[in-house]
Symmetry: C2
Subunit: 308 residues, 2 copies
Protein backbone atom coordinates (compact mmCIF):
# COMPACT_ATOMS: atom_id res chain seq x y z
CA UNK A 1 0.00 0.00 0.00
CA UNK A 2 2.71 2.43 1.03
CA UNK A 3 4.86 1.19 -1.83
CA UNK A 4 2.10 1.90 -4.33
CA UNK A 5 1.53 5.39 -2.92
CA UNK A 6 5.26 6.02 -2.95
CA UNK A 7 5.54 4.84 -6.58
CA UNK A 8 2.59 7.11 -7.46
CA UNK A 9 4.22 10.16 -5.98
CA UNK A 10 7.47 9.42 -7.74
CA UNK A 11 5.68 8.81 -11.02
CA UNK A 12 3.92 12.16 -10.69
CA UNK A 13 7.20 13.86 -9.86
CA UNK A 14 8.85 12.38 -12.92
CA UNK A 15 6.03 13.71 -15.11
CA UNK A 16 7.32 17.21 -14.44
CA UNK A 17 4.17 18.53 -12.77
CA UNK A 18 4.77 21.21 -10.19
CA UNK A 19 2.09 20.36 -7.66
CA UNK A 20 3.39 16.89 -6.69
CA UNK A 21 6.82 18.39 -6.03
CA UNK A 22 5.34 21.25 -3.99
CA UNK A 23 3.35 18.76 -1.89
CA UNK A 24 6.28 16.44 -1.36
CA UNK A 25 8.52 19.34 -0.30
CA UNK A 26 5.94 20.36 2.30
CA UNK A 27 5.87 16.82 3.66
CA UNK A 28 9.68 16.77 3.76
CA UNK A 29 9.81 20.13 5.53
CA UNK A 30 7.24 18.99 8.10
CA UNK A 31 9.14 15.80 8.79
CA UNK A 32 6.08 13.74 7.72
CA UNK A 33 6.90 10.09 8.55
CA UNK A 34 5.25 8.91 5.30
CA UNK A 35 8.26 10.31 3.42
CA UNK A 36 10.57 7.74 5.01
CA UNK A 37 9.47 4.70 2.96
CA UNK A 38 9.85 6.70 -0.26
CA UNK A 39 13.50 7.48 0.26
CA UNK A 40 15.14 4.46 -1.39
CA UNK A 41 13.05 4.96 -4.55
CA UNK A 42 13.33 8.74 -4.49
CA UNK A 43 17.07 8.55 -4.15
CA UNK A 44 17.38 5.95 -6.95
CA UNK A 45 15.03 7.83 -9.32
CA UNK A 46 17.16 10.95 -9.49
CA UNK A 47 18.99 11.72 -12.71
CA UNK A 48 22.06 12.87 -10.83
CA UNK A 49 21.30 16.59 -10.86
CA UNK A 50 24.15 18.91 -10.09
CA UNK A 51 23.64 20.09 -6.50
CA UNK A 52 25.16 23.55 -6.14
CA UNK A 53 25.44 25.23 -2.76
CA UNK A 54 25.63 28.99 -2.59
CA UNK A 55 26.27 30.83 0.62
CA UNK A 56 27.55 34.12 1.93
CA UNK A 57 26.83 36.79 4.50
CA UNK A 58 23.71 38.96 4.38
CA UNK A 59 24.38 42.03 2.28
CA UNK A 60 26.68 40.22 -0.12
CA UNK A 61 24.11 40.52 -2.91
CA UNK A 62 23.73 36.77 -2.99
CA UNK A 63 20.05 36.86 -3.93
CA UNK A 64 20.70 39.14 -6.88
CA UNK A 65 23.51 36.86 -7.98
CA UNK A 66 21.27 33.79 -7.71
CA UNK A 67 18.70 35.61 -9.82
CA UNK A 68 21.30 36.35 -12.50
CA UNK A 69 22.54 32.74 -12.43
CA UNK A 70 19.01 31.44 -12.93
CA UNK A 71 18.63 33.70 -15.98
CA UNK A 72 21.89 32.35 -17.40
CA UNK A 73 20.97 28.71 -16.74
CA UNK A 74 17.55 29.22 -18.36
CA UNK A 75 19.35 30.68 -21.39
CA UNK A 76 21.26 27.39 -21.50
CA UNK A 77 18.00 25.43 -21.45
CA UNK A 78 18.30 24.09 -17.91
CA UNK A 79 15.36 23.54 -15.55
CA UNK A 80 16.44 25.13 -12.29
CA UNK A 81 15.43 24.12 -8.76
CA UNK A 82 16.24 26.49 -5.90
CA UNK A 83 16.03 25.59 -2.27
CA UNK A 84 16.54 28.55 0.06
CA UNK A 85 17.48 27.27 3.50
CA UNK A 86 17.62 29.36 6.64
CA UNK A 87 19.49 27.39 9.28
CA UNK A 88 19.45 30.27 11.72
CA UNK A 89 16.82 31.23 14.22
CA UNK A 90 13.13 31.94 13.52
CA UNK A 91 13.95 35.56 14.38
CA UNK A 92 15.38 36.01 10.90
CA UNK A 93 12.57 34.51 8.91
CA UNK A 94 11.67 38.00 7.73
CA UNK A 95 14.99 38.39 5.97
CA UNK A 96 14.61 35.30 3.87
CA UNK A 97 11.10 36.31 2.90
CA UNK A 98 12.50 39.65 1.78
CA UNK A 99 14.95 37.77 -0.42
CA UNK A 100 12.08 35.77 -1.90
CA UNK A 101 10.33 38.86 -3.14
CA UNK A 102 13.34 39.61 -5.31
CA UNK A 103 13.00 36.18 -6.90
CA UNK A 104 9.62 37.07 -8.36
CA UNK A 105 11.31 37.77 -11.69
CA UNK A 106 11.25 34.02 -12.38
CA UNK A 107 7.90 33.35 -10.72
CA UNK A 108 6.05 32.90 -14.01
CA UNK A 109 8.67 30.55 -15.45
CA UNK A 110 7.44 26.97 -15.07
CA UNK A 111 10.98 25.63 -15.44
CA UNK A 112 12.17 27.46 -12.35
CA UNK A 113 10.99 26.04 -9.04
CA UNK A 114 11.85 28.04 -5.95
CA UNK A 115 11.18 26.90 -2.41
CA UNK A 116 12.12 28.36 0.99
CA UNK A 117 12.61 26.12 3.98
CA UNK A 118 13.00 27.35 7.50
CA UNK A 119 14.87 25.56 10.22
CA UNK A 120 12.83 23.46 12.58
CA UNK A 121 15.40 24.25 15.23
CA UNK A 122 16.44 20.61 15.57
CA UNK A 123 20.13 19.87 15.57
CA UNK A 124 21.04 18.67 12.13
CA UNK A 125 17.46 18.84 10.99
CA UNK A 126 18.25 21.35 8.29
CA UNK A 127 20.96 19.31 6.64
CA UNK A 128 18.90 16.10 6.65
CA UNK A 129 15.87 17.87 5.23
CA UNK A 130 18.02 19.57 2.63
CA UNK A 131 19.39 16.42 1.06
CA UNK A 132 15.98 14.78 0.90
CA UNK A 133 14.53 17.92 -0.70
CA UNK A 134 17.41 18.03 -3.20
CA UNK A 135 16.66 14.41 -4.13
CA UNK A 136 13.02 15.39 -4.72
CA UNK A 137 14.04 18.24 -7.06
CA UNK A 138 16.33 15.82 -8.86
CA UNK A 139 13.60 13.19 -9.27
CA UNK A 140 11.35 15.93 -10.69
CA UNK A 141 13.90 16.66 -13.40
CA UNK A 142 15.42 19.89 -12.10
CA UNK A 143 19.11 20.28 -12.80
CA UNK A 144 20.93 22.15 -11.35
CA UNK A 145 19.49 22.19 -7.86
CA UNK A 146 20.71 25.33 -6.14
CA UNK A 147 20.84 25.29 -2.35
CA UNK A 148 21.03 28.80 -1.03
CA UNK A 149 21.85 29.36 2.63
CA UNK A 150 21.82 32.58 4.58
CA UNK A 151 24.53 33.48 7.04
CA UNK A 152 27.90 32.01 7.79
CA UNK A 153 27.61 29.58 10.65
CA UNK A 154 28.37 25.94 11.21
CA UNK A 155 25.07 24.81 9.68
CA UNK A 156 25.98 26.54 6.45
CA UNK A 157 29.25 24.65 6.41
CA UNK A 158 27.34 21.43 6.90
CA UNK A 159 24.84 22.22 4.16
CA UNK A 160 27.72 23.25 1.91
CA UNK A 161 29.39 19.87 2.48
CA UNK A 162 26.35 18.14 1.06
CA UNK A 163 26.56 20.09 -2.19
CA UNK A 164 28.81 18.96 -5.01
CA UNK A 165 29.88 22.47 -5.88
CA UNK A 166 29.91 25.14 -3.22
CA UNK A 167 30.01 28.81 -4.15
CA UNK A 168 30.90 31.25 -1.38
CA UNK A 169 29.92 34.86 -2.04
CA UNK A 170 31.91 37.66 -0.47
CA UNK A 171 31.74 41.42 -0.66
CA UNK A 172 34.78 43.66 -0.96
CA UNK A 173 34.93 44.84 2.67
CA UNK A 174 37.50 43.02 4.75
CA UNK A 175 34.99 42.52 7.58
CA UNK A 176 33.06 40.03 5.52
CA UNK A 177 36.14 38.12 4.46
CA UNK A 178 36.82 37.58 8.11
CA UNK A 179 33.28 36.29 8.53
CA UNK A 180 33.76 33.60 5.89
CA UNK A 181 37.14 32.66 7.31
CA UNK A 182 35.79 32.42 10.84
CA UNK A 183 32.96 30.17 9.82
CA UNK A 184 35.32 27.84 8.01
CA UNK A 185 33.46 28.56 4.79
CA UNK A 186 36.60 29.13 2.73
CA UNK A 187 37.62 25.55 3.46
CA UNK A 188 34.49 24.15 1.86
CA UNK A 189 34.42 26.65 -1.03
CA UNK A 190 34.90 25.26 -4.53
CA UNK A 191 34.44 28.69 -6.09
CA UNK A 192 34.72 32.05 -4.33
CA UNK A 193 32.88 35.02 -5.75
CA UNK A 194 33.68 38.59 -4.82
CA UNK A 195 30.39 40.23 -5.65
CA UNK A 196 29.75 43.96 -6.06
CA UNK A 197 32.83 43.97 -8.25
CA UNK A 198 32.13 47.60 -9.16
CA UNK A 199 32.93 48.73 -5.62
CA UNK A 200 36.38 50.34 -5.17
CA UNK A 201 37.93 47.61 -3.00
CA UNK A 202 36.82 44.65 -5.14
CA UNK A 203 40.07 43.93 -6.99
CA UNK A 204 42.09 44.28 -3.84
CA UNK A 205 39.75 41.96 -1.92
CA UNK A 206 40.03 39.34 -4.67
CA UNK A 207 43.83 39.60 -4.62
CA UNK A 208 43.93 39.28 -0.83
CA UNK A 209 41.70 36.24 -0.93
CA UNK A 210 43.86 34.59 -3.60
CA UNK A 211 47.01 35.30 -1.60
CA UNK A 212 45.44 33.92 1.56
CA UNK A 213 44.24 30.79 -0.18
CA UNK A 214 47.54 30.04 -1.88
CA UNK A 215 49.55 30.59 1.31
CA UNK A 216 47.31 28.05 3.04
CA UNK A 217 48.08 25.62 0.23
CA UNK A 218 50.73 23.81 2.20
CA UNK A 219 48.22 22.33 4.60
CA UNK A 220 45.30 21.92 2.24
CA UNK A 221 45.65 19.01 -0.14
CA UNK A 222 43.68 20.35 -3.08
CA UNK A 223 44.57 23.36 -5.18
CA UNK A 224 43.01 26.65 -4.07
CA UNK A 225 39.54 27.46 -5.41
CA UNK A 226 39.21 30.15 -8.10
CA UNK A 227 38.30 33.65 -6.91
CA UNK A 228 35.95 35.36 -9.39
CA UNK A 229 34.58 38.89 -9.61
CA UNK A 230 30.90 39.47 -10.37
CA UNK A 231 28.61 42.47 -10.48
CA UNK A 232 25.32 40.68 -10.04
CA UNK A 233 23.16 43.76 -10.46
CA UNK A 234 24.26 44.09 -14.11
CA UNK A 235 24.92 40.35 -14.56
CA UNK A 236 28.66 41.12 -14.96
CA UNK A 237 30.80 38.01 -14.65
CA UNK A 238 27.80 35.71 -14.41
CA UNK A 239 28.45 33.80 -17.65
CA UNK A 240 31.98 33.08 -16.46
CA UNK A 241 30.63 31.97 -13.08
CA UNK A 242 28.13 29.60 -14.71
CA UNK A 243 31.03 28.19 -16.76
CA UNK A 244 33.15 27.74 -13.65
CA UNK A 245 30.30 25.92 -11.89
CA UNK A 246 29.93 23.65 -14.94
CA UNK A 247 33.69 22.99 -15.01
CA UNK A 248 33.67 22.11 -11.33
CA UNK A 249 30.85 19.66 -11.88
CA UNK A 250 32.99 17.72 -14.30
CA UNK A 251 35.88 17.69 -11.82
CA UNK A 252 33.75 16.73 -8.85
CA UNK A 253 32.21 13.64 -10.35
CA UNK A 254 35.09 11.54 -9.14
CA UNK A 255 34.61 8.48 -6.94
CA UNK A 256 36.54 10.16 -4.12
CA UNK A 257 34.29 13.23 -4.06
CA UNK A 258 31.18 11.07 -4.24
CA UNK A 259 32.41 9.02 -1.30
CA UNK A 260 33.10 12.13 0.79
CA UNK A 261 29.58 13.39 0.18
CA UNK A 262 28.18 9.97 1.05
CA UNK A 263 30.10 9.92 4.34
CA UNK A 264 28.71 13.35 5.30
CA UNK A 265 25.18 12.28 4.46
CA UNK A 266 25.43 9.00 6.37
CA UNK A 267 26.89 10.72 9.46
CA UNK A 268 24.11 13.26 9.48
CA UNK A 269 21.51 10.49 9.14
CA UNK A 270 23.18 8.46 11.91
CA UNK A 271 23.00 11.38 14.35
CA UNK A 272 19.33 11.99 13.60
CA UNK A 273 18.47 8.30 13.80
CA UNK A 274 20.35 7.69 17.05
CA UNK A 275 18.66 10.71 18.68
CA UNK A 276 15.21 9.57 17.56
CA UNK A 277 15.66 5.99 18.72
CA UNK A 278 17.03 7.05 22.07
CA UNK A 279 14.09 9.38 22.65
CA UNK A 280 11.68 6.54 21.84
CA UNK A 281 13.43 4.12 24.20
CA UNK A 282 11.60 3.15 27.38
CA UNK A 283 14.80 3.96 29.30
CA UNK A 284 14.98 7.53 27.96
CA UNK A 285 13.33 9.32 30.88
CA UNK A 286 15.26 7.50 33.60
CA UNK A 287 18.54 7.92 31.70
CA UNK A 288 18.01 11.67 31.30
CA UNK A 289 17.21 11.93 35.02
CA UNK A 290 20.38 10.03 35.91
CA UNK A 291 22.54 12.36 33.79
CA UNK A 292 20.75 15.43 35.15
CA UNK A 293 21.54 14.22 38.69
CA UNK A 294 25.17 13.46 37.71
CA UNK A 295 24.70 9.79 38.61
CA UNK A 296 25.62 8.92 35.00
CA UNK A 297 27.91 10.60 32.49
CA UNK A 298 26.44 11.45 29.08
CA UNK A 299 28.69 9.11 27.09
CA UNK A 300 27.85 6.06 29.20
CA UNK A 301 24.20 7.11 28.93
CA UNK A 302 24.49 7.26 25.14
CA UNK A 303 26.10 3.81 25.05
CA UNK A 304 23.34 2.28 27.13
CA UNK A 305 20.61 3.87 25.03
CA UNK A 306 22.22 2.80 21.78
CA UNK A 307 22.79 -0.76 22.99
CA UNK A 308 19.20 -1.44 23.98
CA UNK B 1 44.39 -1.68 36.04
CA UNK B 2 42.68 1.11 34.12
CA UNK B 3 40.38 1.70 37.08
CA UNK B 4 43.33 2.18 39.42
CA UNK B 5 44.97 4.62 37.02
CA UNK B 6 41.69 6.45 36.63
CA UNK B 7 41.24 6.71 40.40
CA UNK B 8 44.82 7.99 40.68
CA UNK B 9 44.24 10.74 38.14
CA UNK B 10 41.04 11.79 39.85
CA UNK B 11 42.70 11.73 43.24
CA UNK B 12 45.48 13.97 41.93
CA UNK B 13 42.94 16.30 40.37
CA UNK B 14 41.06 16.59 43.64
CA UNK B 15 44.29 17.52 45.43
CA UNK B 16 44.23 20.81 43.53
CA UNK B 17 47.54 20.33 41.74
CA UNK B 18 47.76 22.02 38.38
CA UNK B 19 49.81 19.52 36.44
CA UNK B 20 47.36 16.57 36.62
CA UNK B 21 44.61 18.85 35.28
CA UNK B 22 46.86 20.16 32.50
CA UNK B 23 47.76 16.59 31.49
CA UNK B 24 44.18 15.38 31.57
CA UNK B 25 43.00 18.34 29.46
CA UNK B 26 45.63 17.48 26.85
CA UNK B 27 44.40 13.88 26.77
CA UNK B 28 40.80 15.12 26.43
CA UNK B 29 41.74 17.51 23.63
CA UNK B 30 43.61 14.77 21.76
CA UNK B 31 40.69 12.38 22.08
CA UNK B 32 42.91 9.91 23.95
CA UNK B 33 40.85 6.69 24.35
CA UNK B 34 42.18 6.18 27.90
CA UNK B 35 39.94 9.08 28.99
CA UNK B 36 36.81 7.08 28.23
CA UNK B 37 36.92 4.72 31.25
CA UNK B 38 37.42 7.69 33.57
CA UNK B 39 34.24 9.46 32.60
CA UNK B 40 31.77 7.93 35.05
CA UNK B 41 34.07 8.71 37.98
CA UNK B 42 35.11 12.10 36.64
CA UNK B 43 31.51 13.11 36.16
CA UNK B 44 30.51 11.87 39.63
CA UNK B 45 33.50 13.49 41.38
CA UNK B 46 32.58 17.03 40.37
CA UNK B 47 31.30 19.41 43.01
CA UNK B 48 28.71 20.84 40.68
CA UNK B 49 30.71 23.85 39.51
CA UNK B 50 28.79 26.62 37.81
CA UNK B 51 29.47 26.27 34.08
CA UNK B 52 29.20 29.71 32.49
CA UNK B 53 29.33 30.13 28.73
CA UNK B 54 30.45 33.45 27.30
CA UNK B 55 30.30 34.20 23.62
CA UNK B 56 30.16 37.11 21.23
CA UNK B 57 31.61 38.32 17.96
CA UNK B 58 35.29 39.18 17.55
CA UNK B 59 35.84 42.82 18.44
CA UNK B 60 33.21 42.84 21.17
CA UNK B 61 35.88 43.15 23.83
CA UNK B 62 34.93 39.76 25.20
CA UNK B 63 38.47 38.87 26.29
CA UNK B 64 38.84 42.09 28.27
CA UNK B 65 35.47 41.42 29.88
CA UNK B 66 36.51 37.88 30.80
CA UNK B 67 39.65 39.29 32.34
CA UNK B 68 37.63 41.74 34.44
CA UNK B 69 35.23 38.98 35.50
CA UNK B 70 38.11 36.79 36.64
CA UNK B 71 39.42 39.65 38.77
CA UNK B 72 35.98 40.07 40.35
CA UNK B 73 35.56 36.34 41.00
CA UNK B 74 39.02 36.16 42.57
CA UNK B 75 38.03 39.07 44.83
CA UNK B 76 35.10 36.86 45.89
CA UNK B 77 37.50 34.03 46.71
CA UNK B 78 36.53 31.76 43.82
CA UNK B 79 38.95 29.47 41.96
CA UNK B 80 38.29 30.15 38.30
CA UNK B 81 38.68 27.73 35.39
CA UNK B 82 38.58 29.14 31.85
CA UNK B 83 38.24 27.04 28.75
CA UNK B 84 38.64 29.04 25.53
CA UNK B 85 37.11 27.08 22.67
CA UNK B 86 37.50 27.90 19.02
CA UNK B 87 34.91 25.93 17.08
CA UNK B 88 35.80 27.58 13.80
CA UNK B 89 38.46 26.65 11.32
CA UNK B 90 42.17 26.23 12.00
CA UNK B 91 42.64 29.39 9.89
CA UNK B 92 41.67 31.47 12.92
CA UNK B 93 43.90 29.86 15.48
CA UNK B 94 45.97 33.03 15.50
CA UNK B 95 43.09 35.11 16.81
CA UNK B 96 42.52 32.98 19.84
CA UNK B 97 46.23 32.99 20.62
CA UNK B 98 46.13 36.78 20.47
CA UNK B 99 43.34 36.73 23.02
CA UNK B 100 45.40 34.50 25.25
CA UNK B 101 48.21 37.02 25.50
CA UNK B 102 45.79 39.44 27.12
CA UNK B 103 45.02 36.86 29.78
CA UNK B 104 48.58 36.96 31.06
CA UNK B 105 47.44 39.28 33.87
CA UNK B 106 46.24 36.21 35.76
CA UNK B 107 49.04 33.90 34.64
CA UNK B 108 50.81 33.98 38.00
CA UNK B 109 47.62 33.29 39.98
CA UNK B 110 47.52 29.60 40.86
CA UNK B 111 43.77 29.75 41.45
CA UNK B 112 43.10 30.75 37.85
CA UNK B 113 43.51 27.99 35.28
CA UNK B 114 43.22 29.00 31.65
CA UNK B 115 43.24 26.58 28.76
CA UNK B 116 42.65 27.03 25.00
CA UNK B 117 41.25 24.23 22.91
CA UNK B 118 41.09 24.26 19.16
CA UNK B 119 38.55 22.42 17.09
CA UNK B 120 39.62 19.07 15.75
CA UNK B 121 37.33 19.72 12.81
CA UNK B 122 35.12 16.75 13.66
CA UNK B 123 31.39 17.33 13.63
CA UNK B 124 30.33 17.82 17.22
CA UNK B 125 33.82 17.17 18.46
CA UNK B 126 34.08 20.57 20.08
CA UNK B 127 30.95 20.25 22.15
CA UNK B 128 31.76 16.73 23.35
CA UNK B 129 35.30 17.72 24.29
CA UNK B 130 34.02 20.82 26.02
CA UNK B 131 31.74 19.06 28.47
CA UNK B 132 34.39 16.50 29.37
CA UNK B 133 36.91 19.30 29.94
CA UNK B 134 34.39 21.22 32.06
CA UNK B 135 33.91 18.09 34.19
CA UNK B 136 37.70 17.91 34.66
CA UNK B 137 37.87 21.53 35.84
CA UNK B 138 34.98 20.79 38.19
CA UNK B 139 36.67 17.69 39.62
CA UNK B 140 39.80 19.80 40.20
CA UNK B 141 37.82 22.21 42.34
CA UNK B 142 37.43 25.13 39.94
CA UNK B 143 34.14 27.00 40.24
CA UNK B 144 32.99 28.77 38.14
CA UNK B 145 34.16 27.15 34.92
CA UNK B 146 34.00 29.73 32.18
CA UNK B 147 33.64 28.46 28.62
CA UNK B 148 34.59 31.17 26.19
CA UNK B 149 33.78 30.73 22.51
CA UNK B 150 34.81 32.88 19.60
CA UNK B 151 32.42 33.79 16.84
CA UNK B 152 28.70 33.42 16.40
CA UNK B 153 27.99 30.20 14.56
CA UNK B 154 25.98 27.09 15.19
CA UNK B 155 28.78 25.49 17.22
CA UNK B 156 28.71 28.41 19.62
CA UNK B 157 24.99 27.89 20.08
CA UNK B 158 25.65 24.23 20.81
CA UNK B 159 28.43 24.98 23.28
CA UNK B 160 26.22 27.64 24.88
CA UNK B 161 23.46 25.05 25.38
CA UNK B 162 25.82 22.96 27.48
CA UNK B 163 26.47 25.84 29.86
CA UNK B 164 24.12 26.57 32.74
CA UNK B 165 24.40 30.31 32.31
CA UNK B 166 25.14 31.76 28.90
CA UNK B 167 26.36 35.32 28.55
CA UNK B 168 26.23 36.84 25.05
CA UNK B 169 28.42 39.89 24.55
CA UNK B 170 27.44 42.51 22.01
CA UNK B 171 28.92 45.81 20.95
CA UNK B 172 26.86 48.93 20.30
CA UNK B 173 26.94 48.80 16.49
CA UNK B 174 23.78 47.42 14.94
CA UNK B 175 25.78 45.17 12.64
CA UNK B 176 26.85 42.99 15.53
CA UNK B 177 23.37 42.77 16.97
CA UNK B 178 22.33 41.29 13.66
CA UNK B 179 25.16 38.78 13.93
CA UNK B 180 23.92 37.47 17.29
CA UNK B 181 20.35 37.35 16.04
CA UNK B 182 21.31 35.49 12.89
CA UNK B 183 23.22 32.85 14.77
CA UNK B 184 20.31 32.25 17.12
CA UNK B 185 22.50 33.32 20.01
CA UNK B 186 19.90 35.58 21.57
CA UNK B 187 17.66 32.57 22.03
CA UNK B 188 20.20 30.79 24.18
CA UNK B 189 21.31 33.91 26.07
CA UNK B 190 20.59 34.04 29.78
CA UNK B 191 22.30 37.41 30.13
CA UNK B 192 23.09 39.85 27.33
CA UNK B 193 25.93 42.29 27.79
CA UNK B 194 26.37 45.39 25.67
CA UNK B 195 30.06 45.96 26.12
CA UNK B 196 31.96 49.15 25.31
CA UNK B 197 29.21 50.96 27.17
CA UNK B 198 31.19 54.20 26.85
CA UNK B 199 30.63 54.29 23.08
CA UNK B 200 27.94 56.74 21.91
CA UNK B 201 25.40 54.17 20.69
CA UNK B 202 25.53 51.90 23.75
CA UNK B 203 22.35 53.00 25.53
CA UNK B 204 20.40 52.97 22.30
CA UNK B 205 21.68 49.48 21.43
CA UNK B 206 20.66 48.19 24.88
CA UNK B 207 17.19 49.73 24.49
CA UNK B 208 16.77 48.20 21.03
CA UNK B 209 17.81 44.79 22.30
CA UNK B 210 15.38 45.00 25.21
CA UNK B 211 12.55 46.04 22.90
CA UNK B 212 13.35 43.23 20.48
CA UNK B 213 13.49 40.65 23.25
CA UNK B 214 10.25 41.71 24.90
CA UNK B 215 8.37 41.83 21.59
CA UNK B 216 9.49 38.26 20.95
CA UNK B 217 8.13 37.33 24.36
CA UNK B 218 4.88 36.00 22.97
CA UNK B 219 6.60 33.01 21.38
CA UNK B 220 9.32 32.47 23.92
CA UNK B 221 8.11 30.83 27.12
CA UNK B 222 10.58 32.29 29.56
CA UNK B 223 10.93 35.95 30.47
CA UNK B 224 13.45 37.90 28.39
CA UNK B 225 17.07 37.85 29.59
CA UNK B 226 18.47 41.00 31.23
CA UNK B 227 20.46 43.36 28.99
CA UNK B 228 23.38 44.86 30.89
CA UNK B 229 25.90 47.56 30.02
CA UNK B 230 29.59 47.07 30.76
CA UNK B 231 32.79 48.94 30.03
CA UNK B 232 35.23 46.10 30.43
CA UNK B 233 38.33 48.20 29.92
CA UNK B 234 37.63 50.10 33.17
CA UNK B 235 35.74 47.18 34.81
CA UNK B 236 32.55 49.28 34.69
CA UNK B 237 29.43 47.19 35.32
CA UNK B 238 31.45 44.05 36.03
CA UNK B 239 30.37 43.69 39.68
CA UNK B 240 26.73 43.87 38.57
CA UNK B 241 27.42 41.31 35.85
CA UNK B 242 29.04 38.91 38.34
CA UNK B 243 25.96 39.36 40.56
CA UNK B 244 23.62 38.65 37.64
CA UNK B 245 25.56 35.49 36.78
CA UNK B 246 25.30 34.39 40.41
CA UNK B 247 21.57 35.13 40.48
CA UNK B 248 21.06 33.11 37.31
CA UNK B 249 22.89 30.18 38.82
CA UNK B 250 20.35 30.03 41.62
CA UNK B 251 17.48 30.16 39.11
CA UNK B 252 18.97 27.60 36.78
CA UNK B 253 19.45 24.85 39.34
CA UNK B 254 15.96 23.57 38.70
CA UNK B 255 15.24 19.98 37.68
CA UNK B 256 13.83 21.18 34.33
CA UNK B 257 16.98 23.08 33.41
CA UNK B 258 19.19 20.18 34.51
CA UNK B 259 17.15 17.81 32.33
CA UNK B 260 17.45 20.08 29.30
CA UNK B 261 21.21 20.18 29.68
CA UNK B 262 21.30 16.42 30.09
CA UNK B 263 19.29 15.93 26.88
CA UNK B 264 21.71 18.14 24.92
CA UNK B 265 24.71 16.28 26.30
CA UNK B 266 23.23 12.84 25.59
CA UNK B 267 22.26 13.80 22.01
CA UNK B 268 25.74 15.06 21.30
CA UNK B 269 27.26 11.86 22.73
CA UNK B 270 24.83 9.73 20.70
CA UNK B 271 25.85 11.40 17.43
CA UNK B 272 29.55 10.93 18.17
CA UNK B 273 29.07 7.34 19.27
CA UNK B 274 26.91 6.36 16.29
CA UNK B 275 29.43 7.88 13.87
CA UNK B 276 32.34 6.08 15.49
CA UNK B 277 30.63 2.71 15.59
CA UNK B 278 29.49 2.98 11.99
CA UNK B 279 33.00 3.83 10.85
CA UNK B 280 34.34 0.78 12.70
CA UNK B 281 31.73 -1.54 11.19
CA UNK B 282 32.91 -4.08 8.62
CA UNK B 283 30.07 -2.91 6.36
CA UNK B 284 31.21 0.72 6.41
CA UNK B 285 33.18 0.75 3.16
CA UNK B 286 30.57 -1.09 1.08
CA UNK B 287 27.77 1.04 2.55
CA UNK B 288 29.57 4.28 1.69
CA UNK B 289 30.17 2.98 -1.85
CA UNK B 290 26.49 2.10 -2.23
CA UNK B 291 25.40 5.60 -1.15
CA UNK B 292 28.03 7.22 -3.37
CA UNK B 293 26.65 5.24 -6.34
CA UNK B 294 23.07 6.15 -5.35
CA UNK B 295 22.19 2.48 -4.93
CA UNK B 296 21.25 3.23 -1.33
CA UNK B 297 19.84 6.34 0.34
CA UNK B 298 21.73 7.72 3.36
CA UNK B 299 18.94 7.11 5.88
CA UNK B 300 18.56 3.43 4.96
CA UNK B 301 22.35 3.20 5.08
CA UNK B 302 22.37 4.70 8.58
CA UNK B 303 19.69 2.25 9.73
CA UNK B 304 21.63 -0.73 8.45
CA UNK B 305 24.87 0.43 10.06
CA UNK B 306 23.18 1.14 13.38
CA UNK B 307 21.37 -2.21 13.39
CA UNK B 308 24.44 -4.34 12.93
Amino acid sequence: MIRAASADVIGELASGQRRPLARLLTRIENGDPSVRPMLPQLFATGHGAHVVGITGPPGSGKSTLVNALITEWRRRGRRVGILAVDPSSPYTRGAILGDRIRMMEHAADRDVFMRSMASRGELGGVAATTWIAAAAFDAAGYDPVLIETVGAGQSEVEVARLAETTVVVEVPEMGDEVQAIKAGLLEVADIIVVNKGDLPGADRAARQLRAMLSSAGGRVERKPPPVMLTTAISAGGVVALADAIEAHRAQSRTPIEARERAVSQIRRALADLAARRAAESSAWQTTVEAVAERALDPLTAAERLLDR
